[in-house]
């Protein structure tokens, strides 16, 4: 699957529904395999007002959709857009679940061996944290927004409590993996600016 995830922050929230409808229509029009377009839930951080997470069978279809959405989002209703394009397996969406995405940027000069360890340890989070139902850690093919995002860390949960409870509170997260993010730890390789965003999975096209 060729995926595109965009976090949209509105300058004027009254346009949110219209933009969401426009994104859904563009996804259908460009033959998306699946599209999740939904408002972010409270607790998101730098996560925008709207998540658009769309999957395509081919790269040209994704690129055409990306160009079309760029035109849609260029209007005055949009304050900012964080965007990542990447490759991954089809989502195994939970009906009535929660989709969460973290955009992160690894330092350009980071030791490749350290990056590999960070990725390997992150991919083991579902092994220790059972609330993570489906997940994918991807390197980006292209990114734009407030940082040159290098990675996309996506998960699905049965509900928001799984994200805000077990995911955040399990020691594998805060006492082990977080050191790659923590400016107080010498292992840190991830920029402090993160986009943590989540929404309900009930708006599938």
């Amino acid at each position: 699957m060729y995926k595109l995830t965009r976090l949209v922050t509105f300058a004027d929230a009254t346009h949110g529904d219209a933009v969401a409808e426009g994104l859904r229509a563009l996804a259908v029009g460009h033959g998306a395999y699946r599209a999740l377009v939904a408002p972010t839930l409270p607790g998101s951080h730098n996560g925008g007002d709207l998540i658009a997470h769309v999957q395509f069978d081919t790269e040209p279809a994704r690129d055409a959709f990306e160009a079309a959405t760029a035109r849609l989002l260029a209007g005055p209703a949009t304050a900012s857009v964080e965007s990542v394009a990447y490759i991954g397996a089809p989502d195994l969406d939970l009906m009535n679940g929660v989709y969460r995405v973290l955009l992160l940027s690894v330092d350009k000069g980071a030791d490749p061996a350290a990056v590999a360890r960070f990725e390997a340890e992150t991919r083991m989070m579902p092994h220790y944290i059972a609330a993570i139902r489906n997940w994918q850690l991807s390197r980006t093919d292209a990114a734009s927004g407030s940082r040159a995002w290098t990675h996309v860390w996506e998960q699905e949960y049965a509900d928001a409590a799984g994200l805000l409870g077990p995911y955040m509170l399990h020691p594998y997260h805060w006492a082990h993996v977080d050191r790659w993010f923590d400016p107080e730890c010498p292992d840190r390789i991830v920029d402090a600016r993160l986009c943590h965003s989540f929404c309900t999975i009930d708006a599938l096209a």
Binding site: G165, P166, M168, L169, H170, P171, W174, A175, H176, D178, R179, F181, D182, P183, E184, C185, P186, A192
Partner: protein, 116 residues
């Protein structure tokens, strides 16, 4: 039954030769007050070997405690977004041969910490 402070924060700093005493003095004067403001409780300082070496490295081990996971995230949220804290650690790294920060708990507290 859980202890008052379940989480230990351990800084292990191998100072540059002859620099450990000054580094520890600065740690206590410049880093420790802010750490206490972030909820950390200073529990122990160890110097190895137990003398100040002037031509070799001493290892400083400084152990703090935090009450629970919520206290850990409060510490992390404040310290992780404070540019002065980041600047402090950049200075330490320039004055150290190596450094490690780890988070630990007593075996008896692992069950409670993982019961999320």
């Amino acid at each position: 039954m859980t202890r008052e402070a379940m989480i230990q924060v351990i800084d292990e700093i191998v100072a540059r030769p002859g620099a450990a005493k000054a580094l520890l003095d600065d740690y206590l004067a410049r880093y420790a007050p802010g750490a206490r403001d972030r909820g950390m409780v200073l529990e122990q300082i160890l110097v190895s070997p137990p003398m100040w070496l002037d031509d070799q490295s001493n290892t400083l081990t400084i152990r703090w405690s935090l009450r629970d996971t919520a206290a850990w995230w409060r510490m992390r949220a404040v310290g992780g977004n404070d540019p002065d804290v980041a600047a402090w650690w950049a200075e330490v790294d320039a004055r150290a041969v190596s450094r490690r920060r780890s988070f630990a708990a007593e075996p008896a507290d692992i069950g409670a910490l993982c019961d999320v």
